[in-house]
Amino acid sequence: MLEKTLVDSIKTIDSLTQAQQLALGKFIDKGFPTSKWEEWKYASLKHLNEHNWQWSPETLPVDLPNPVWKHSAIIQTLNGNTHSEGALPLGIALLPMSEFMAQNPAFDSVWKARNPILDQNSLYDLNDALASDYAVLWVKNGVKIAEPLLHQYLVSGQLDTAVQSKLFIYLEEDSEITWFEQQRSESSHAILSNYVQEIWVSKNAHLTLIKDQDLQQSITHVDHTFIFQQESSLVDAFTFSINAAYLRNNLHFYIDGPQVVSNLNGLYIPGEDQLMDTHSVVDHRMPHSESNELYKGVLMGNATGVFNGKIFVRPDAQKTNAFQSCKNVLASDRATMNTKPQLEIWADDVKCSHGTTTGQLSDEALFYMRSRGISKATAQTLLLLAFVQQVIDKLEHEDIRAELSDKIVNKIQASLGLTLL
C-alpha cells in the first residue's frame, strides 16, 4: 500500500483513461517495492516514500552535447516526452503509439498477447498509469542503418520529481539498427526515473542495444527493458551501469521463435553509496535458440550489487543453448554483492550452464605488482581494468567503445581515489 500522503497527491492527477485509472489503482494497492518482496529483497525502494513527488514533470529544454562520432539520428526523451532532433533516416518513423496502432490494426492482438513476466512489479503499473500515448520508433521492412541512432534519455526537475517514460521500438523483418542510449540526469533534487522500454524484433531483424547509464547521485533509476524476439532474429544487448545512487535493470528477453540469438552483456561498477541491481530474464519459449549472458561487476566503497539471472526453458524449447556467467570483484571490504542464478528447465534436450563468482583481487598479484614499484592503488586499478575489459571489448563500434572505456576508467579511478600515470 502506498503512503497516505502520496495517495492524496497522486489522486489529484486528472484526465486519466479508465485503463490508466486501473493501473494506478494497482500501484496504489501495492505501493513502492520493499525488501519484503522477493524480487526486491536487496533493492528496497522504501526511500521513495519520503518525498513529496511532483507527478507531472515539466519538460525543460536542454542542451546535450552531440557525439563526436557519426550517428544517423538523435532522438531525445526528456522527462518522458520523446522527439527527434532533426530528420530521421529513410524508413524510420517516430510516432505516438495510438497512431502506430491505427496503422497496424492487426498488431494490437499480438501486442496484447505478449505476456511479460511482471511479478508484483508496482513500478510497471505506475508507468502504465502515467506514461500515456508514448512514442514508437518504427523501423520498416529491410531497413538497415549502419551508423548508430543516438537516444538521449534525460530526467530533470527543480522539485522532487517522479518521471514516467515509455518507449516502444518496432523492428520489422530484415531490419538492422544500433540503438545507443545515453541515460542522464540534470537535477540536484531527488528524481524517480521510471523507464519502460519494449522492443519488438521481427523475423531476421538485428538489434544492437547499448545502454550507458550515468546519472547523478540524487537519482533513483529503474529501467525495464522487455525484448520480444521473433524467428531468426539477433539481439546484442549491452548495459553499462556507471553512476546513480540506485540503479535497477529489469532486462527481459522473450524468445518467441526458432533460431533466435540473444546476447546479454553487462558491466556494473557502483561506488560509495550506490546500489546497482540487475534482474535478467531469458524466457526460451521456442526451440533451437541460443542465449549468452556475460555480466561483470566491480564493487567499490560501500556499494551494493545484485545479480539475479533467470533462465526459463519452456517445454517446447527443445535444442536450446543457454549460458550465463556473472563475475564480480569486491574492491573494498565494505562492498557487498548478492548473486542468484535461477534456472527453470522443462525441456529435456537442452544445454544450459551458469556460473557466478564473487571474489577479491589477489593479494599475490598485488604484492607482485607493488614489488615492481607500482603503488597499491595503481595495481588495483590495472587489475580491475583488465577484469572489465572483456565486456567492453565485445562492443564492435570503435568510437562508442573508446567513449565508454574512458568513462569506466575514470569512474574506477575516481572511486579508488587516484589518477593513473
Binding site: 589477489s362 614489488s371 614499484g373 603503488s375 597499491k376 581494468l385 583488465a386
Partner: protein, 249 residues
C-alpha cells in the same frame, strides 16, 4: 648498502627467522643456501616487504634508510628488486604496460619526469637483448600461460629494465633446464656493475657455476650458521648440509 641486524620474523605464531645478520656492499654477490624450510625464501620475502610476515625484532637498513618502514613499492623505488620463485600471473596486463606503469611510478617517486613512448621503446629494445626475450611474449598478459623458463626470463628482463641497486633472486634456478639457466645467468652477469649487488637464494650449487658468488652463507633454522667464499658452495655440493647441521644440533 644493505645492513641486516638480528632480524626476527614470524608468520602467525611461528618464528621463521631467528636473528639474521648480513652485510652487503656494492659490487658483491652473496649466495644464501640452506636445506628446505631453513627460511631462505622468508628472508627474501621480508626484505621485499611481503605483508604475511611480521618482523618481531631487529633492523634492516638500505642505504641508511629503515627498509622495514617502507611499502613494497617504495622499496622498489629505492632500488630493491625481488625475482620471484613463482612469478604471479597477471591476467589482462601485458608485460609492456606493466613495466611502463612501474617505470613511471618509480620515476615519479624519484622526482623524475615520466618516460615518453619513444624513450620507453628504445630502452625496452636494448633490455630485450639481455635475456633474449622476444616481443610477442612481452605483449601477452604477464606470466599467463608462460612456461617456467619464460617466467624466469621475464623476471630477469624486468630486472634489466628496473636496474635495481640490490637484486634478490629467489630460487631463480628452480624449474630451469640447463639452456634456460645459462641465459638467465648471463643476463644477471651482464647487469652486474661495481655499484650494484646481488643476493642469490638457492638450494643447489648449480646456479653458482654460472654466477660466481663472493660470499656463501648457510641458513639453517632461521639463522646464518656458516659463511665462506665460493669454495663453501662446492663443499656443500659434495658433502650436503648434514656435516654442518650435525655439528650444530
Amino acid at each position: 648498502m644493505l645492513s641486516v641486524k638480528n632480524l626476527h620474523a614470524r608468520i602467525g605464531e611461528k618464528e621463521i627467522l631467528k636473528g639474521i645478520n648480513l652485510e652487503v656492499h656494492a659490487g658483491e654477490v652473496h649466495a644464501i643456501m640452506g636445506p628446505n624450510g631453513s627460511g631462505k625464501s622468508t628472508l627474501a620475502s621480508v626484505l621485499a616487504g611481503r605483508s604475511d610476515y611480521e618482523v618481531s625484532e631487529g633492523s634492516v637498513e638500505f642505504f641508511g634508510k629503515d627498509l622495514l618502514d617502507l611499502s613494497p613499492e617504495a622499496r622498489a623505488a629505492e632500488g630493491l628488486f625481488l625475482a620471484f620463485q613463482y612469478p604471479v600471473e597477471i591476467p589482462g596486463v601485458s608485460t609492456t604496460n606493466f613495466m611502463k606503469s612501474a617505470i613511471n611510478e618509480i620515476r615519479a617517486y624519484r622526482g623524475q619526469d615520466a618516460m615518453d613512448a619513444v624513450q620507453f621503446l628504445k630502452m625496452f629494445k636494448e633490455k630485450m637483448a639481455y635475456v633474449n626475450i622476444d616481443q610477442t611474449l612481452l605483449s601477452r598478459a604477464l606470466n599467463e600461460g608462460f612456461s617456467g623458463g619464460e617466467k624466469k626470463r621475464n623476471e630477469i628482463f624486468q630486472m634489466a629494465v628496473l636496474e635495481p641497486k640490490l637484486a634478490i633472486l629467489d630460487e631463480t634456478d628452480s624449474g630451469l633446464d640447463i639452456d634456460a639457466l645459462r641465459i638467465v645467468a648471463e643476463g644477471v652477469n651482464k647487469l652486474k656493475t661495481p655499484q650494484n649487488a646481488t643476493i642469490l637464494v638457492t638450494h643447489y650449487q648449480r646456479l653458482l657455476d654460472y654466477i660466481i658468488p663472493d660470499f656463501v652463507h648457510v641458513l639453517y633454522k632461521g639463522k646464518i650458521v656458516k659463511s665462506g667464499n665460493k669454495d663453501l658452495a662446492l663443499e656443500l655440493e659434495e658433502r650436503g648440509y648434514d656435516w654442518i647441521i650435525s655439528a650444530l644440533d
